[in-house]
Point group: T
């Protein structure tokens, strides 16, 4: 059912719609595993990481809204239902139960890293198809790269992680 | 692994932990299908319902955080991972693609109604087990009942819904 | 006409609906006599009591809204029309014309006292019928009891009120 | 009992006092029937009208305070007690129970229209008696005329109101 | 020196300019004696009156600014220098040293009463000369009459003032 | 097409409607030439005048909204379309391209002066027809006269403008 | 007269200057027809669309300021005078008088659609000429596409628009 | 001296008054030892714990005020004097001088644990005596349990605390 | 245990540390007796004094934090534990139970007077030892002297206090 | 009449009281001549100086309040009545009528300079008498010296003032 | 030492890292010379330029933070130490001592112009290397170009600068 | 060139000017090395220290502005140019590249300690020369000593720093 008419030609729309839908799932998934870690983290750095995770969640939620509304604005129905996220979420996930603070940091670094890698491909893919969408993906990437650095910086020095 | 010690005796903890975990999944699920409808609603009442849905989502997100942190405070690790929500979400879900405004209203009425019914059982179950948790479930219920009424009121008169 | 469906069984609904409707009239009446006193008080404590009465009015208005919306949420049409208030308001009322500050204090103590007595009965009545409504009535009571204390404290020492 | 001395000569005071007392009752009555409709409206435009009614109520409450304090400032004791409102409220009232959204709109248009007609007479009556009071009645009128237009605009086109 | 050209004809300008200059002095004087009383009041109602006086001062300062800028806008240089105020201030003044709270109330009632009487004459005088200025004087009067009532209400009952 | 019914008799409506429509065009035009000058001013006083012009624009926009909604409230459809403004705008306009700061000041003084003259005529015309509208035009005039003075004051001394 | 020196080479400046001047007129025109509809809309969805139009107007005004200041920053005098808008505005305009809500929605969809089409051409044209300007046009487009979607979503289902 | 009359029967009042007075001392004591730790903590987690302690203090202060005013509202004079706290404070106290961060965490976990245990007994005791007071004690408990979890989570893993 | 190194020489540190520790106890004690009076005051001036006491408490709490952190900053561990306050608090204390408003005023005047006297000695003692600490004690004194005046002014006229 | 008891010995009180009373008059006078200039300034720098003068007035008013309340806190009745200011104001005053912007700058520089000179003498005089008052005078001086610099900086280069 | 891993390939990282480090130094340098001028400017336009410079400083500081954190996010350690800025700052610098307002304007125009030219080269250089960084440099450029225009506009007309 | 005249005698001015200029360089340098550490810190305490450093930077920037404007107010041109900072900055500096969190803490402790030592000398030097400047240096010192303590407290226990 074509309900909302697109302002993009069909082919460009295909590329752009896929980029947006995949980004939506990545961001919704990130917001869920961020909250999961926010609640389950334990260890001496609990408070610091508990707060930092809420910033990731806030960023992921706000970007997911912009991304989904961008898809809708182009006439592509966005899909963020629980079953869709569970079926298509492709980043490293969260494990069950309480998690040590050092593990949380590693999880976030690798989840964000994977998300960034996928976003950089979509930035390239949308350059010709729709520079407006590309611009949006660029801001999402800038934000996630900043978050990744912050967790990465906490992870150092890796070899003597045991003495944290 | 017992990480966070509980201030409740074991049996009470079992009842309370289950009530909180189930409520968590209901609320996270509601926040996802609320957003899904927020993005995909179409029809003459688009703007009004688009905004109303965001209030449901905000309430669901905020209550889910309180509920999960209550579980953690009792020493029960909360589980809000995508796969858990997809596997255990028991309320009526959202359908795929664009949705007419009248259908969205009906979906929200029935999803909220189901959530409320389940919450009322847990209010009873936790009365002896943990009055602190019961009090929290009572506030969640009060909020969802208010939301349900607002959608229900929009649904009236049902028989001539076609002419909306 | 049953328009908004209730989430409560019939009998519980009867008890709860009555409790909410009676509380609504008490609160709307309090807000009107509070304003009446706010405008008509005279005496050396004018400013202090003029301001204090506006806090009672603000509380009464805000609680009346919550109570009426709770009734609606349960499928009971709330009735706050002028004729209904005039016909069913059962607390001590305000007298005509300017009122001395000491009299205003006494009026408020007795009006609040009567309202609290009636609320405590409804708290008991709704315990089984609807713990969500009971919880709401408990907060209203807590607030009115605090207001009553403040006026009562100003009324002391009663025997030498003449020398105030 | 003459308690607060007036800054107006007796005759002017008579005209002005009557104008203010009548306006006070109109506004308090409006605030009550506005809230009544706010709680009892049903129909597809529920949310929109529910919110709009709260703006009418807020305006009516705030103007009623200014009007009553203006009376007091002139040495006329204002009367806003439940029994006075019930006995002297002369605008079209609200009916019992749930009300369809289209009916609410019609009720508000006719209640505001009646209030405006009465205010315009008082504006004329107070021109010589007290330009300060006249100025206040002018602002109340401007506000109510704006509210009336907004409901009136929603009422159009009248002939096919049935298909809303 | 004609510096700022007027948008009013000469005669109208004379009337209006005088009304504004006299009002400016009344308001600046009020703000000074209001502060004087704010600092020097003593007695059991100290705090209440100390705060109320600051509201009078804030109102007087803000109106004096509007009045002076209105004069300037009409091409009449406003004069609010210390020597001008001292020479032309015509309201009852403040006495030297600490002042009992009951006396402060009486002083404010009589100073405001005098100011109001003078403003009402200027409202009449400017009606034809400049309705824009008249409108401004009307708002100043409304405000001062409200302040006067509040002090007057505190002054009651006068005959037993001794027992406050 | 009579859509929104008026609360004014026909003749009064004619006078009032014309006054409001003409004021609307004056204000929308002022807001456009104010912005034009805001962008194109050059000279040593650039910053000061750039900011001052934005205050004129903000005032003109806000008043134009009130004026247009007042017309609608009276049942007169307001007309603020580009072609209407271009066809009926009667104040001195802005010239093309960059403009020296001293010229901008002169332009604003003469545009505001013309607008004020036209408003004063409408204040007189609406006195009997609709005092509510008159009151609104009075506030617009007060504001524009204040703005005019500020630019006029900057224009002084005119004869030695060269040495600025 | 070259007043503000450009930081762009001549040819790039020609392309960029034209793109910015055309966008300025589109946005100023949109802000005027948005307000026109804001005041003249009638029908059951009045309130909802009245509010939504003010968001379009706020966005158009704010973007027009950024666009004009960007032109000035590049040394190109922006032209937003009434006569320029009337002469060069190329989007579908607003019709005279009251407008039914459904028509307003259609007008906004088509005006925004036309604006977006023209912006997309300018995004391409400025890519090499000035990426800074291109980036600005991209944000304007993103915003207008979001607004267009919202009106478009309200327009659905088109075939049974009669029953709204 | 019976000064403020109670709205509770005598026996209920005895139970409730004791519960409130004991809670008051617990909370005032907690606020003092929380600040003591806030000032004296040292160690690599200084900043994080320094801030977290201020949240405990803010919560304890705010709850102590509500608890004391609830006692007063029931006619029971609350006692929070230094000598009373020192004599009746029954939670684990703070030691003298600088304290290592890990010790602070342990102190807070055990002080909060003791406070919670005592509160749970009072919740039970007041259920029949005064549900309004019970409701208040429930909120205090919820808050302290959340605070306890946060310190507890930081304390993990206990056995290798040495490597923090 | 020397944990935080001082930036002051030993002797100066001794003087300064004592001054700060004594001031800390005075301020914490003041905050506790201020709250005690805030809850237990009765009499016609209840509201006014209830609010004024909260300003004293807020000031005392905020200064106590600054004073304790100043001690810590100089390497002196501050001691604000309940037992320390009870053992070393040297100002006039609060009596048990409800207190008449006039007595509260007298208590606060004498407690503040004693605190000020002690502070003035410490200002002298720290002048050479540490001007930074002296500066801090000067601000505390200025604040307490202002509070003392306000209570003192309410106490006047003393001889006829009976007629308040 | 000794009403408010002083916390200073008699001699110190004499010095301090005089310093505060003189400073009060200087500041009140400055606030009046600052406003006078704010209203009467003309010339190309009108807007800039009009705004800057309001900052001087705001500072002078706020400091005058602190200074007067300091006097009262020490038991010295402050005197800020119009006649006192007129009789004892010793700084360079404002001349009558419109004033050229360059003259305003010169007036402010010399008035502030005179005020600062007098304050520096009082800082010396109060050093022993009352360091708390000295500290207050120091802050007033710091503020006025900053204001003086800003006007002085505008006055440069003096010799070619003609070409401004 | 590779501490923070990069998400960019080595070559792209080289280009991007250099662009960011150079921009960082330009912006930190701008913030320092902007403050220097803010403090040292003299002349009749002092206030206007003093304020405008603080906007440049705020923008430069905020962009410098974003740029440095972007470098860190890419794994490139940013260098903003005093010695690095002094050694590598390549824009026109500030001269010693007080500076006439006209000279400040010229300095800012030329410093901003140089910064913009360097940024435009880096925009080109990073287009392929890292579009995320390019997007960031584009916003910095847009901002600086707006600032440059504002100073440039004040500089006009250059030939008769003498008569400013 | 003597541009801004001083309110201090020559000799006093020399001492004061030097104190202010040296303090300015210390503070600007601190703000730069604080930011450098803010960007380059790595290690498990990254987030905590990253945030704490921004508070040091904010304090240093704000104090540097006050110090420089104080110099200007006294007629001494402040010098905060990059080359001046690089040449005269005398505190321990920041090293190149990423820095471990424990090293950052040590760096900040020693830089702040050095700054404080230098400030204490200037407090003594300016006591006679200019108490206004002395007062300003005292507040700067108080703030830096508080910052130093916070880093120092984090540094404990030093001997087992390895196990952090």
């Amino acid at each position: 059912m074509t309900v909302v008419k697109s302002t993009l030609p069909e082919e460009a729309l295909g590329v752009t719609g896929t980029a947006l839908q995949e980004t939506l799932v990545d961001l919704l998934g990130l917001s869920l595993i961020g909250k999961q870690a926010h609640w389950n983290v334990v260890g001496p750095r609990f408070r610091s990481i508990h707060l930092q995770l809420d910033e990731v969640v806030a960023a992921a939620r706000s970007h997911s809204d912009t991304v989904a509304e961008r898809a809708a604005a182009l006439g592509v129905s966005p899909d963020g239902r629980p079953e869709t996220i569970a079926a298509t979420f492709a980043l490293p996930g969260a494990k069950d139960g309480w998690v040590r603070d050092t593990e949380v940091v590693e999880l976030m670094v690798s989840a964000l890293e994977a998300a960034i890698g996928r976003l950089r491909e979509r930035i390239e893919a949308t350059e010709k198809a729709d520079p407006v969408t590309q611009d949006l993906l660029i801001s999402v990437t800038a934000d996630l790269e900043k978050q990744r650095w912050m967790f990465e910086a906490e992870n150092h020095p890796r070899e003597d992680a045991a003495d944290q």
